[in-house]
């Protein structure tokens, strides 16, 4: 007995382990069935199964855990004892399957781990929906995951319920709408019916008239010999069709009015009556009402009317004019008209004479302007608006006026241009635009005040001046591209130059008098001479200075050499160490500025390559630059000091 039980327990364990030992995303249904059937028979097996499954959930592999979870779900939905056993360890199970504890993340294959997590949450929700009322632990788990850790639950049931609810709501709404339509239909039905019938009658009458007229036209009877001619069947066919064509009523001046009326009526039938009848029929078919009597009778009538309409339509179409002459034809006409306006605007503008509308004039004006701009492209002649009226003598007065009229920018003041009406003050004070609120007919703002208010405001607009480039020749052969207003910082005042960059002599004195040219030339020559002399002098002085400096340098070098030798002697006289120190000092002294120089050169080399942007940036980083210059200056001073006073250091 005991043995047998142990054996069966082992069997369950083996079954479960086999079922979970697979890489499939699903359980083997045969194994699952076996597990279920074994577990169903005895509680002890169920206990063992629960234990084994919990052990498997602790395995360090998501796939094993996933499959175990599937088995757990199967058993959980079925056995009360299993639920009781599982629920005891709910937090453990959840932490192993959802992995919400940070120190116990889900194990290795991440894809499976994700599946495991979502499945676990789904199962938890399902369990809670089914058994939540009996197990506080389930409720706690759901509450914790949902409200504390904010896990997203699939909420399958809730979603389904919501969808159901929404659908019901939609249905109810559409039903209501239908009922409303039905009610209005009930009210409108008699009048609508009358309308339709009158339309049909009119059409009939019109057709009648047309036909009568047509009958007056004599039909050429078919002679015998003619018949002979048409013996061949093809010819006969053609003959028939022409006859048919001839039978059709054609539009001419006589029946134009009738045709127009017919067209109108046909349009009415097509666009309004047929559509509405169709709609009403569908409403009547769909609506659910208590008394079906009215509905049925109305439906019958509607169908009759519909048939009637259709037959009329057919007749119209047979008459041959209907399709061709309705709808799109009209539209085409309209469109053409529009084109005509735009074309004509350049020429006579006769059409526009008729309408005094200001807006239309302005439109045509603009069109004209455009045409003008395209025709004569000279920018200077933009203001020649008036001359456009050359072709149209008939409205020369208007064109003259237009030529005189000032250009006014668009603005709200144009709304009441020239109007001398008083304006009612609104309840809210001077809110002229707003027309809501109580109106007091005594509170009136006089017209002059309004005109004061709507003074045209203009913003000062600088007329753009193109700043000429400097165009002084550069060393590389190009011209200076700088654009300064008056003075280029590198090349002095900006003067007109030729293509090589040579200044074109264009002295401001040029426009004064031509007679002064000779005098001017002399003056310039004199100036040049003075300049030359001065330059030469400068050069001389500079040379002298350089000589002097060289002399001094030589002198100082001599002194320095002397100094060094003296020092060396002194060092030799003292200890070797101090000599070494001296050497050291010397080397460092010599080295340091060297090194610094080198460094500076390196950095300057670097700096030479930098772009304008960098230069700007450097200039902006003023503090560092100034610091650098200060440092350089002091360094230079130091060196100079040493050079100048070699005796004193």
């Amino acid at each position: 007995m005991e043995d047998e039980r142990a054996g069966r327990g082992a069997k369950v364990r083996v079954l479960i382990e086999n079922a979970t030992n697979s890489t499939e995303p699903d359980l083997d249904p045969r194994l699952l069935k076996a597990i279920k059937s074994v577990v169903r028979c005895s509680d002890s097996d169920l206990r063992i199964a629960a234990h084994t499954l919990m052990d498997l959930m602790k395995r360090d592999h998501s796939q094993v855990r996933y499959l175990s979870l599937l088995i757990i779900d199967q058993l959980f939905m079925r056995s009360k004892l299993f639920r009781n056993l599982l629920v005891e360890n709910m937090d453990n199970l959840l932490s192993l399957s959802v992995g919400f504890r940070r120190n116990q993340p889900l194990p290795a294959p991440p894809a499976v781990a994700n599946r495991l997590r979502s499945k676990a949450i789904e199962f938890l929700e399902k369990w809670n929906d089914s058994f939540g009322f009996h197990y506080r632990q389930l409720r706690l788990g759901v509450d914790y995951l949902k409200n504390t850790l904010r896990f997203q639950f699939p909420e399958l049931q809730a979603n389904a319920a919501r969808l159901q609810q929404e659908r019901r709501e939609r249905e109810r709404k559409s039903k209501e709408i239908l009922l409303n339509k039905y009610e209005t239909f009930k009210e409108n039905f008699p009048s609508m019916k009358d309308e339709i019938h009158s339309t049909i009658n009119e059409i009939e009458e019109c057709l009648e008239i047309v036909r009568i007229r047509e009958e007056q036209v004599p039909l050429v009877p078919l002679d015998e010999e003619d018949f002979e001619e048409f013996r061949s069947s093809e010819m006969w066919q053609i003959r028939l069709s022409t006859l048919e064509e001839a039978e059709k009523v054609h539009e001419n001046n006589d029946n134009k009015v009738v045709f127009d009326a017919l067209r109108e009526l046909y349009k009415l039938v097509m666009t309004k009556h047929l559509v509405s009848v169709q709609e009403w029929i569908s409403v009547l078919v769909r609506v659910e009402v208590t008394d079906n009597k009215f509905r049925d009778s109305a439906l019958k009538e509607l169908i009759d009317t519909k048939n009637c309409l259709q037959s009329v339509k057919k007749k119209c179409e047979e008459a041959g004019f209907a399709l061709r002459n309705t709808g799109n034809n009209d539209e085409e006409d309209f469109w053409e008209e529009g084109k005509i306006t735009s074309i004509e605007s350049g020429g006579s503008g006769a059409r526009h004479e008729r309408n005094e509308d200001r807006a239309a004039v302005s439109i045509s004006n603009e069109v004209k302007k455009k045409d003008l701009a395209s025709s004569c492209k000279e920018p200077g002649d933009k203001k020649m608006l008036g001359c456009e009226g050359g072709g149209s003598q008939s409205n020369s007065l208007k064109s003259k006026l237009l030529a005189e009229a000032p250009f006014v920018k668009w603005g709200p003041h144009l709304d009441n241009w020239g109007s001398k009406r008083d304006v009612l003050a609104n309840q809210r004070g001077l809110d002229l635009e707003g027309h809501w609120g109580r109106v007091d007919y005594d509170a009136v703002i006089p017209a002059e005040k309004i005109s004061e208010l709507s003074v045209q405001a203009t913003v000062y607009k600088e007329d753009t001046v193109e700043i000429q480039p400097c165009r002084a020749p550069l060393s590389k052969g190009r011209l200076c591209e700088r654009r300064d207003l008056r003075v280029c910082p590198f090349h002095g005042p900006i003067i007109p130059r030729d293509n090589e960059g040579k200044p074109i002599d264009q002295d401001p004195s040029k426009d004064e008098t031509n007679s002064a040219v000779g005098k001017d030339l002399a003056e310039r020559l004199a100036r040049q001479a003075v300049k030359n002399v001065r330059e030469r002098e400068k050069e001389v002085t500079r040379k002298r200075q350089i000589d002097k400096q060289e002399l001094q340098h030589a002198k100082r070098a001599k002194v320095r050499e002397h100094n060094e030798s003296v020092l060396k002697d002194a060092a030799l006289a003292s200890t070797s160490r101090s000599a070494a120190i001296g050497e050291d000092i010397e080397t460092t002294n010599r080295k340091n500025p060297m090194a610094r120089n080198k460094k500076q050169s390196l950095s300057s080399m670097l700096r030479k390559k930098v772009t304008t942007k960098d230069r700007l940036a450097q200039r902006l980083l003023n503090a560092r630059a100034s610091e650098g210059t200060v440092f350089q200056l002091t360094l230079g001073e130091d060196v100079r000091y040493r050079e100048a006073f070699p005796n004193q250091w």
């Binding site: 069935k33 939905m77 056995s79 004892l81 360890n89 937090d91 506080r136 632990q137 914790y144």
Partner: protein, 450 residues
């Protein structure tokens, strides 16, 4: 059970014993209650739980989101699932939006022991507020020098109305509700005081446990503490509880090992019986001078070696005096639970099978009827240990985060636990009567399809 009732009817069992046996059975079957569902009104971890001492009906909870709420644990406010689940919603909640509510976490919320008209809350915003329950208005408040970790009122007190407050500060302060002033400051601890507990045998004895690991006993009528517990001073076994006659074998072991002579203990026990009865003049302190060898304990400040003794390595996070006031249970951040003999001041060396305790927060322990079991929050679970052997009797799993506090209601034999997951769980004896379990929307039965 029916046999026992029959015995009781026949007079074979004494009423007390019958009740005790019945209660013990109920406690043995404690489990997560499905029919009592406290809807937590808190958005932070629950730090303190207490059911009022007069009616055993109103549960007071204090939480980290600075809110305090009270629940009626007897009568549910609504039912769910065809009346299976009784939802207990809070009767009132006082939170940060209240004009005189606390600003930071409420660390401790206790009822006034005499009635439910007042309750006391201590908070990390340095304040102790005394509230009128009916109007939920602050009656008095006390400003403390630091975060308040624990407040306690003596349930025995008839001559004083003092709130003992353990704070970040080294001094323990006693706040007098009657005058609205600080009555004493007790200095001796070298670090903040995590927990305070009034003795259950004397209204003047206060026990405090500090972050310095020391447990000090104070007689509030005198200056200084009169006892510092030392973990290195131990005795094997325990003295017999006054009313319990079953543990005689342990007495023998204590007799042989403990240095304290057997005779005075018995004499003291006899005396205690008397003092429990009526006279207030006699107190345990008054008797101590009679004992020669213990005389020096009265002035431990003189003996620096004794004054520096520690009860735990690290902080003392929880204290609980047993019902008879003879033993003290302490929990420390060294994850140890120690049972102390109050009389001798020695560690009884009971080995509690704790795994791990929460170390950073003060915790609230609870004992069951006759101090047979002690309920200890161990991380996410609550464990019930046998007081005298230290064995784990029951483990309560249900919280998803650390448990901070537990409270055992003697009247209903129910355990209330609150934790960091903001839940207040009720653990109740399994119900005997299942008649109202007419099933809900889904039957909780086996459902084998194949």
């Amino acid at each position: 059970m029916w046999r026992e009732i029959g015995d009781r009817e026949a007079g074979k069992i004494r009423p007390n014993a019958f009740a005790n046996r019945f209660k013990r059975n109920r406690i043995e079957s404690l489990q997560l209650s499905n029919h009592k569902d406290i809807v937590s009104a808190h958005r932070g971890s629950i730090n303190s739980l207490q059911v009022d001492l007069t009616e055993g009906r109103y549960l007071l909870s204090g939480a980290s989101d600075a809110s305090v709420a009270a629940y009626d644990v007897q009568r549910p406010t609504e039912y769910e699932g065809n009346g299976i689940i009784g939802k207990h919603k809070c009767l009132f909640v006082v939170d940060r939006t209240h004009e005189s509510g606390h600003q930071y976490a409420v660390s401790s919320a206790v009822w006034y022991p005499i009635d439910t008209g007042l309750f006391v809350t201590g908070s990390y915003d340095y304040h102790i507020n005394v509230w009128d329950t009916n109007t939920t208005q602050v009656v008095t408040n006390f400003k403390m020098p630091g975060k308040v970790y624990k407040t306690a009122m003596s349930s025995l007190a008839t001559s004083h109305m003092l709130i003992a407050a353990g704070t970040e500060d080294v001094q323990v302060r006693l706040c007098d509700i009657a005058s609205g002033a600080l009555a004493h400051t007790l200095s001796g601890h070298r670090d903040g005081v995590m927990t305070v507990e009034w003795s259950s045998s004397s209204e003047w004895v206060l026990v405090t446990g500090g972050c310095d690991g020391a447990i000090r006993f104070w007689d509030i009528r005198r200056a200084g503490c009169f006892l510092v517990l030392d973990q290195s001073q131990s005795q094997l076994g325990r003295r017999p509880p006054i009313l319990d006659r079953s543990a005689t074998n342990k007495v023998s072991s204590s007799k042989s090992s403990s240095p304290s002579p057997n005779l005075p203990v018995k004499a003291r026990a006899a005396q205690r019986k008397l003092s429990n009865g009526s006279s207030m003049k006699q107190s345990p302190i008054a008797k101590i001078p009679a004992k020669g060898p213990l005389r020096q304990r009265l002035h431990p400040g003189m003996l620096s070696a004794q004054d520096r003794a520690t009860a735990h390595y690290g902080a003392v996070t929880g204290l609980k005096v047993t019902e008879d006031g003879m033993h003290l249970l302490s929990a420390g951040s060294d994850s140890r639970l120690r049972l102390w003999d109050v009389e001798s001041g020695r560690n009884t060396l009971v080995n509690f099978e704790t795994v791990r305790l929460q170390t950073s927060k003060p915790m609230q322990l609870a004992t069951s009827q006759n101090s047979a079991l002690v309920f200890v929050p161990c991380m996410t679970t609550v464990k019930a240990f046998d007081m005298w052997s230290g064995r784990t009797d029951l483990t309560f799993r249900g919280h998803y985060e650390c448990v901070n506090c537990c409270y055992f209601s003697f009247q209903d034999q129910e355990l209330y636990t609150g934790g960091n997951d903001r839940q207040i769980l009720v653990w109740s004896p399994s119900r005997l009567v299942y008649d109202e379990m007419d099933e809900g929307p889904h039957q909780d039965q086996d459902n084998w399809s194949d």
